[in-house]
Amino acid sequence: MASTKMKIKKSKGGGYEVMVLAKHPMETGLRKDKKTGEKVPAHFIQTMEFALNGETVAQANLGAGVSKNPLIGISIPSAKSGDTVTVSWVDNKGESDSAEKAVK
């Protein structure tokens, strides 16, 4: 499922910035479906884990207050060319996805 994309950009002071775009509705549970009039149930990413060469370096905690299709950015000062960055997320329904990219 290619619903999670990652971009790795070299930072000015060394290290790298990692941007992740995850395709996800991030429903608050308050919005009404225009056709049925029913409230669309809450459905949002809860945790997003970032790892460098298999070791977790950060975890983002998201809620329904984060915009649809979350665009999340962190920095990894210790990352260097040849390293691998992995991101994996889980939502409140237990659905998940992940992406992996090499640092150039």
Binding site: T47, A60, G65, K68, L71, S75
Partner: protein, 154 residues
């Protein structure tokens, strides 16, 4: 030990008993942390700060900076970037004061740098308070963002 504590969903090092009682130290993989439910469900900033950081006491200073628009074109997608050059960053949290649930999102840091960027929903014009916990202390930068069309999907 401290790393293990804050990676288990609570940054209140030294309050193990309270944390365990509140279900914050549930057995998880060491490198995975539980979603901070109490913080996300808090209705006030103070409650959210205490739930997530274990404190709401803030240091004076300008060690934290925010890059965000003064006016949001679209309240459903407001870009926020929090940066700090502080050493020993443990966590970053974004609190949207006037949102129904002020605690919007956070980043727990265990090797990454002092940067967190995201896009948030804002229901109305509100101060956005960005907190950074580093070296055991809490720092803050705040910016008011004007919203003409709210983005909570109502």
């Amino acid at each position: 030990m401290k790393r293990r504590i804050f990676l288990k969903g609570s940054l209140a090092a030294g309050t193990l008993a309270v944390a365990a009682g509140a279900g914050l130290l549930t057995p998880t993989r060491v490198l995975a942390s539980t979603w901070p439910k109490a913080a996300f469900e808090s209705k006030t900033e103070a409650d959210a700060l205490n739930a997530f950081f274990g404190t709401s006491e803030v240091e004076q200073g300008d060690q934290v900076s925010i890059k965000a628009p003064l006016q949001a074109e679209n309240g459903a997608v407001v870009p926020i970037k929090v940066m700090t050059s502080l050493e020993g960053v443990e966590a970053i949290a974004i609190i949207t004061i006037k949102n129904p649930s002020p605690y919007t999102t956070s980043l727990q840091v265990a090797g990454a740098g002092g940067l967190y960027s995201t896009r948030i929903k804002m229901g109305q014009t509100s101060p956005v308070n960005c907190y950074v916990k580093a070296g055991g202390k809490l720092y803050l930068a705040s910016q008011e963002i004007k919203v003409t069309v709210g983005g909570c999907g109502g």
